[in-house]
C-alpha cells in the first residue's frame, strides 16, 4: 500500500511538523487574542508582514534572530493598531480585523516594491538550518520528525508550552481567561479590561508575525507574494478546533499539517495519475471542516468573544 509507505516514512512526519510550525505560532497568537475576547482577523495580513519584515531584515544584513525580533515587532505594531480600534474604540472586530489584513498586506507589497524596485526574482537569504539534537534525533521516525528541525520549529513548541503555562498557572493568565469570559468580573476586581485586552492583541499579533516569518526564514528562504496563502484563516479555524486550549490547538495544527504533507505525497503515487491534483489540494481543507464539525460541538467559546466592553454600560 502506497499510503502505508508514506505514513511509515520519516520524511513524511518531518514534513508534517515543519508545515505545522508556522501554524502553531499563529494559532497561539490568535488563541491569546480570542481568550481575551478579541477576534483578530488581522492574522492573515500580520503573517504577511512578519514574513516580509523578517526576511528583509536578514537580507539587509541582520542576523537571523534579530530578523525574528524585527518580524515580531512589526506584527506588534499592527496589533497595536488593531487593539486601539477594537478595544478602547470598541469598533466591530470583523471590520477592524479585515481592514488590518488588507492594510498590512498592501503596505507589505508596497514596501517590497519600494525597497527592491529592479528585482524580478526575489533574493534568497541564508535561512535557519536544521539543528539535529544529538542522540534523540537518531530515534527512528520520531527523531527526524521532532528533533532534526530548525530552531524556529523548536521555538514553536516552546511557545506553546509557555502560553499554556501563563494561561493556566499565573495570575496574568487567570485575568486573561476572565476578561474574555466576563469583562465585568475583571473590572469589578479592579483590573483594567482595556489594558488586558490590548496587551493580548499586541502580543498575539507578535506571535502571528513570527509564524509568517517562519515561512521566509525557515521554509522557503525567500519572500513571494501570496506566500501566506490562507494560513491565517486556517489558524482561526484551528483555534476553534482546539477549543481555545493551547495543547489541543497544537494537535490540530499537526493534524492539518499531516493531511497537507500527505496530499503532496499522494499526488506522486499511482492515484495521482488518475485523480486531478486539485482534489488532493482540497483534502486538508475538507478534512479540517469535518474535524471542526466533530470537535467544536462541545467547545466552550469565551462568552465575551467579539463583545466590546464599554465602561459604565448596563
Amino acid at each position: 500500500m502506497e499510503i502505508l509507505d508514506i505514513l511509515l516514512s520519516a520524511s513524511f512526519w518531518a514534513a508534517a511538523v515543519r508545515i505545522a510550525s508556522p501554524l502553531i505560532f499563529a494559532t497561539l497568537g490568535e488563541l491569546i487574542c480570542e481568550r481575551a475576547g478579541v477576534l483578530n482577523l488581522g492574522i492573515e495580513g500580520i503573517m504577511v508582514v512578519g514574513a516580509f519584515a523578517g526576511w528583509m531584515a536578514v537580507y539587509s544584513g541582520a542576523d537571523l534572530w534579530t530578523g525574528v525580533a524585527v518580524a515580531m515587532g512589526a506584527g506588534m505594531l499592527f496589533g497595536l493598531l488593531h487593539a486601539i480600534l477594537s478595544v478602547p474604540f470598541g469598533l466591530s472586530q470583523h471590520v477592524v480585523g479585515l481592514g488590518i489584513t488588507l492594510l498590512a498586506t498592501a503596505s507589505t507589497y508596497f514596501a517590497y516594491r519600494v525597497s527592491l524596485p529592479e528585482v524580478t526574482n526575489p533574493p534568497r537569504i541564508e535561512a535557519f538550518k536544521e539543528l539535529p539534537i544529538p542522540i534523540v534525533s537518531d530515534i527512528p521516525i520520531v527523531g527526524p520528525a521532532l528533533f532534526a528541525q530548525t530552531p524556529l520549529t523548536y521555538l514553536a513548541f516552546v511557545a506553546a508550552a509557555v502560553v499554556a503555562f501563563v494561561l493556566y498557572r499565573t495570575p496574568l493568565g487567570l485575568a486573561l481567561r476572565a476578561v474574555g469570559e466576563n469583562p465585568h468580573s475583571v473590572e469589578a476586581q479592579g483590573l483594567s479590561v482595556t489594558g488586558l485586552r490590548m496587551g493580548a492583541v499586541i502580543v498575539g499579533s507578535g506571535l502571528m508575525a513570527v509564524g509568517g516569518a517562519f515561512l521566509t526564514m525557515s521554509a522557503f528562504n525567500s519572500f513571494f507574494f501570496e506566500m501566506v496563502n490562507g494560513r491565517g484563516w486556517i489558524c482561526i479555524a484551528l483555534v476553534v478546533f482546539g477549543a481555545w486550549k493551547p495543547g489541543k490547538a497544537v494537535l490540530g495544527a499537526l493534524l492539518f499539517a499531516a493531511f497537507d504533507a500527505l496530499q503532496i505525497r499522494l499526488q506522486q503515487t499511482s492515484l495521482g495519475a488518475d485523480i486531478p491534483y486539485q482534489i488532493f489540494l482540497m483534502m486538508p481543507y475538507l478534512l479540517s471542516i469535518l474535524a471542526l464539525v466533530v470537535m467544536s460541538r462541545r467547545a466552550e467559546v469565551p462568552a465575551a468573544l467579539m463583545v466590546p466592553f464599554n465602561r459604565g454600560e448596563r
Binding site: 495570575p171 487567570l174 469570559e181 475583571v186 469589578a188
Partner: protein, 514 residues
C-alpha cells in the same frame, strides 16, 4: 442594631450628581455611612439606587460631587481604588466568569499579574476560613457557571471579604433568592456587622429593609427624599416616602363572568427536557373573569403558557378559541385570535434589549396598519403609538428612541403592558406579571389587569405568589405535575387548603376531580 451617633463615618458621599442624557439619575445626594451600621437604600426601580452605588464603586464617573472613604477622597471612576480603600460591592448582576472556578474568581486581581505561579493553597485555606466564619458555604473548585444563584451570590460576598472589605455594598441582593436563602444572607450580614463591617443594603422590599437595617435612606426620582431610623418607622411610612403618594391595594369587585373565550379539553403536551408537560388538562377562561393559576414553579405553568401563546401545540386533546377549534396554532395565530401575552421573562422573551422602545412597542403588530402600509414602515405612526404608551402607562424613559435595555424592570414591564393592552386583547395571558417589580409598579400592573377584566377580557394569571392569586383571581386552579385542580371560587379555599393541592394531593390520575 444601634445607629451610634458617635461612631465614626467610614464613607461620606457629598453632592453626588449624575445625568444620563436628559435623565438626572442622581441629584446632589449626600449621606454618611458610619462604622458597624447597616443602612438601607430604599427606592422604586429607576430611583437611582444602582447608579449611585456604581458611582461609589467607581464603575461610573459622577458629573459632580465627591466620595470620601476612611478619611481619604476616592479618585472617581476607579474600582481598584475603591477596593483598596476597603469598599466591596456585591453587584445585582453577578460579575463572575463562568469558565473559572470559584477560587479563581475570588483571587482574580488580588495577586500581582506578573508573577510566576499563584498562591492557591494559601488562598484556598483563607477562603475556607472565611466561609466558615461568615456561614458562606461554597465549593472552591466548582466552576462558577455550574453554581446556583444563591451560591453565586455567596461567591460575590466572599470576593469582597477576601479583599478585607470594610464596607459592603449589596445591590438588590434578595431579588434572586428564595426566602430561605434570604434568611441565610441576613445571618451572614449580621456576622459581618458584628465584626465591625459597615453595610449599604439596596432594596425595594420593605420587610427586608425593616429586618436588617438600622437606618433607612429613601431615594425617589434620583433625589434623597428622606432618612429615618428603622426603629422609628413602619411599612406604611416607608411606602409613602418611596412612592410619594398613598398606595392603595387593588380592590376587586364582584365578577360578572361571560361566555367561555378559551376552552382546553383533555389537553396533553410532550414534556421538553426536564420541563413538565400537561397531562390531560381541561380549562375554561371566561370573559370578564380573572382565572388564577397557583402552583409551585416548574409544574407545567410554562407548558400551559406556551400552549396558549402558540409556541407549542397540543399532543392530544382539543383547544377552542371563541367557540372554534384552534387549527394551525402558532404564535401569530394566537395574536390574531386576540390573545395578549405578558411573558414570564421580560428580558428574554418580552423585549429585544437592543431595540428602541418604539421598536419594542410594535413587535407584535409591526406588519399591520397603522404601523406598516403596503409593506412600508410608518415610523411616525410607530412613534405616536409609543409616545402614547409612554404617557398613558407612565413609562419613565429618556424617550421612544432609547434602547429598552436602559430601562428598569418596572418600566420595561409597563411598556410591555401597554403593548399588550393597547391591542385590546380578548384573552390576556399574564405570566408572573409583577415579579421583581417594586410596590408602585406592582399595584399599577395589577390595577390595569383588573381594568381589563372589567372591560370584558378573560385574564389568565399565572403566578408563584399565592397572595397575588388570592387578591386578584375570581376563580383559582392549582397546577401540579401538569395536572389541574378543579376551579375554586374566590374565598372558598384557604391558603393552607390550596397548599395541599400545590403539594400534589387531591388529584385523580388521568384527569381532575370534578
Amino acid at each position: 442594631m444601634p445607629s451610634g451617633g458617635e461612631a465614626r463615618a467610614v464613607l461620606r458621599l457629598r453632592n453626588i450628581t449624575k445625568r444620563f442624557g436628559p435623565l438626572t439619575a442622581n441629584d446632589a445626594i449626600t449621606f454618611d455611612l458610619r462604622e458597624g451600621e447597616v443602612i438601607a437604600l430604599l427606592g422604586e426601580n429607576g430611583a437611582g439606587k444602582t447608579t449611585l452605588m456604581n458611582i461609589l464603586f467607581g464603575h461610573y464617573m459622577a458629573d459632580a460631587g465627591e466620595i470620601e472613604a476612611f478619611g481619604h477622597i476616592l479618585p472617581p471612576g476607579n474600582p481598584r481604588a475603591a477596593l483598596e480603600a476597603g469598599v466591596g460591592m456585591v453587584h445585582q448582576h453577578f460579575t463572575l466568569a463562568d469558565n473559572l472556578s470559584v477560587l479563581e474568581n475570588i483571587i482574580l486581581g488580588t495577586e500581582p499579574l506578573w508573577r510566576l505561579g499563584s498562591g492557591r493553597a494559601a488562598a484556598r485555606a483563607r477562603i475556607e476560613q472565611l466561609s466558615r466564619d461568615f456561614g458562606l458555604a461554597v465549593h472552591s473548585d466548582a466552576k462558577a457557571g455550574t453554581l446556583s444563584v444563591g451560591e453565586r451570590q455567596r461567591v460575590e460576598i466572599l470576593k469582597a471579604l477576601y479583599r478585607d472589605a470594610r464596607v459592603l455594598i449589596l445591590d438588590e441582593p434578595t431579588a434572586v433568592l428564595t426566602p430561605q436563602e434570604t434568611d441565610d444572607l441576613f445571618a451572614t450580614l449580621r456576622k459581618a456587622v458584628a465584626r465591625g463591617l459597615s453595610i449599604i443594603f439596596i432594596s425595594h422590599k420593605m420587610h427586608e429593609v425593616l429586618a436588617i437595617s438600622s437606618r433607612v435612606l429613601v431615594l425617589r426620582h434620583g433625589r434623597l427624599v428622606g432618612e429615618v431610623a428603622t426603629a422609628e418607622t413602619d411599612r406604611h411610612q416607608l411606602a409613602h416616602m418611596m412612592v410619594g403618594s398613598e398606595i392603595r391595594a387593588p380592590e376587586v369587585g364582584g365578577a360578572a363572568p361571560g361566555r367561555v373565550l378559551l376552552r382546553l379539553r383533555d389537553v396533553s403536551t410532550v414534556p421538553v427536557g426536564n420541563a413538565v408537560g400537561l397531562r390531560s388538562l381541561s380549562l375554561d377562561l371566561r370573559a370578564g373573569q380573572i382565572t388564577g393559576l397557583a402552583g409551585v414553579s416548574g409544574n407545567g405553568q410554562t407548558a400551559l403558557a406556551d400552549l396558549i401563546a402558540g409556541e407549542i401545540v397540543p399532543a392530544a386533546g382539543a383547544m377552542e378559541i371563541g367557540g372554534r377549534e384552534a387549527k394551525g396554532w402558532t404564535p401569530k395565530a394566537a395574536l390574531e385570535a386576540g390573545i395578549g401575552r405578558i411573558p414570564e421573562d421580560r428580558h428574554r422573551t418580552g423585549t429585544v434589549a437592543d431595540f428602541s422602545l418604539a421598536e419594542n412597542a410594535v413587535l407584535e403588530a409591526y406588519e399591520k396598519a397603522p404601523f406598516s402600509r403596503r409593506g412600508w414602515f410608518d415610523w411616525q405612526a410607530v412613534d405616536r403609538h409609543t409616545r402614547s404608551i409612554i404617557e398613558r402607562y407612565d413609562v419613565r424613559c429618556p424617550g421612544p428612541d432609547a434602547r429598552i435595555r436602559l430601562l428598569s424592570g418596572g418600566n420595561m414591564q409597563k411598556l410591555i403592558l401597554g403593548r399588550v393592552l393597547e391591542a385590546e386583547p380578548a384573552i390576556i395571558l399574564a405570566v408572573q406579571p409583577v415579579r421583581g417589580l417594586d410596590i408602585g409598579a406592582v399595584t399599577y400592573v395589577q390595577n390595569r389587569l383588573i381594568e381589563a377584566r372589567e372591560a370584558g377580557a378573560a385574564v389568565l394569571l399565572i403566578s408563584e405568589d399565592l397572595d397575588e392569586i388570592l387578591t386578584l383571581a375570581d376563580v383559582i386552579h392549582v397546577i401540579s405535575e401538569g395536572r389541574l385542580s378543579p376551579a375554586f371560587a374566590r374565598g372558598s379555599k384557604s391558603p393552607a387548603e390550596l397548599g395541599v393541592w400545590m403539594a400534589g394531593q387531591g388529584f385523580e390520575e388521568g384527569g381532575h376531580a370534578a
